[in-house]
Symmetry: C2
Subunit: 324 residues, 2 copies
Amino acid sequence: MNANWTWHGGGIEAAKRHFGGEDWIDLSTGINPHPWPGAAALAFDWQRLPDPEALAQLEAIAASFFGIEAGHVCAVPGSEIGLRLTGMLIGGPARHIAPSYRTHGEMIAGSVPAGADTASGQGGTLILANPNNPDGRTIDAAAMRALLRRRGPDGWLLVDEAFADADPAASIAASVDDRERLVVFRSFGKFFGLAGVRLGFVVAPRAIVAALRERLGAWPLSAAAIAIGTAAYADTGWIDAARARLPKDAAALDAMLMRLGFAPTGSSPLFRLIDVDDAQALFDRLARRAILTRPFAEQPRWLRLGLPADAATLARLEAVLADG
Amino acid sequence: MNANWTWHGGGIEAAKRHFGGEDWIDLSTGINPHPWPGAAALAFDWQRLPDPEALAQLEAIAASFFGIEAGHVCAVPGSEIGLRLTGMLIGGPARHIAPSYRTHGEMIAGSVPAGADTASGQGGTLILANPNNPDGRTIDAAAMRALLRRRGPDGWLLVDEAFADADPAASIAASVDDRERLVVFRSFGKFFGLAGVRLGFVVAPRAIVAALRERLGAWPLSAAAIAIGTAAYADTGWIDAARARLPKDAAALDAMLMRLGFAPTGSSPLFRLIDVDDAQALFDRLARRAILTRPFAEQPRWLRLGLPADAATLARLEAVLADG
């Protein structure tokens, strides 16, 4: 299978060249297909260095959204950079729950992959996503706090909550405290559907926040990231509507998949995982009909499907899946 | 003097609150007041993760602009982050030429400040800017290569060329090679006048480029930074015109300052430094007339002036300077 598509979602230009076809549907990511709509109407001051006060205001409004004091929140140009810089600060030894997001295994040199079940009983630094990607498994906040207590005298709990926004009940961000070895990573691009903005947040004890700021310098974000993020996190009407809509759209995807005999898994409404005999063959069949999905090199039975944007997209997906 | 203004240029919101006044002129930075004009007409794909191929295309066109192979160029979300991450990779011991850009003293823990004259005769890792900021002193490319040879068996030469675009003759970027311990930092925002985009480049041996990519992850830049950078570096007509215009505008600023008895220094056309008996008093006088300049906490005689945007701005500056 071509590494362009198993490495990460989003390689649609390469897919177009490889498979041809037109009017592609990109279901290779877990990005909300109904983005926050305000970006196009914003004007950005590209000329000046972003004002540090504007950055602080974004961090304050995001902190309020996460349910934590602003002093624990460090904005980063994409949670990917936040994960990597924080991993270097924390250091090893560490384990990361696998399968999950590829970067989790690269955050701390020498980190050892661990299954979700075996990892929960052990101490030491643990990296995981909640909800997890690609299987969508969610650990509730009480169980996550129990995991935190089990880290022992030196271990950190590093939780990637990139997909937590759709249902914040499972988030542990509000438990971040200077006395806890807990860091939570949030992503703007997925729930708000604007991954090209490159905006994320590290929620951490103040010493970690200070060390991150030292590595990032004073202007980590573009003028656009600050303006879009500040407006979007304040748009509670849109946030509430998206939280109501996404589960309905995911239920429609589930119903279609189950009608065709698949057993979709996942608690995040932004994607579903299906387990099939030959995921590569199904990936290829969908791609030849201009639908890009997400296969996994080391999991030949898994295919992840992003949320179709509308009924027509869902119907096109269904037509190809049914035409096996 | 208030740390809002000696810490770095650009704190204009704080200045407005502190001094009142309207219709402020910001001369506190070295950012081209005539930005590349194409950004407003570009449409950005905020929804998708930026395609890795688009990032590679930007790096290729920037590399061509710098006169080096693309494999030596790593795009970063602002040269500030590039300086800091590279400093952590190189490590100490090190010296940085001072006074210069504040970050140079923070790139490598324990780095020792050194005067430009004493530093040139010694080996070991050396951090400097060319042209330098705030004094605008430029070292020609031959002298810079001599500095590189003097690093000895382990030392690196780290050159911040944030202000090199207006006159690339002094750039040493084309000398970067896998066999040299030379890293050059380039900034998009200053010459192109678009500091809010957050775009910079580290030009380095391939091993450094690879280590930086590992720290940054796959999507270091926003969709806007990729689109604006790709279009601007390709706009040779605008680049040539800006290179012709900026020295003329700087000469007009010089002529005005000299008429009033100042002795401006600096070879970058984007700013001038003046040496006065009481820079704080002059800073305050200008700020009370809504002109923000750049004082320096440890250099009480220095005031840096960015390039006025037009004749009216130059005249306003002259009127306040003359009314002493």
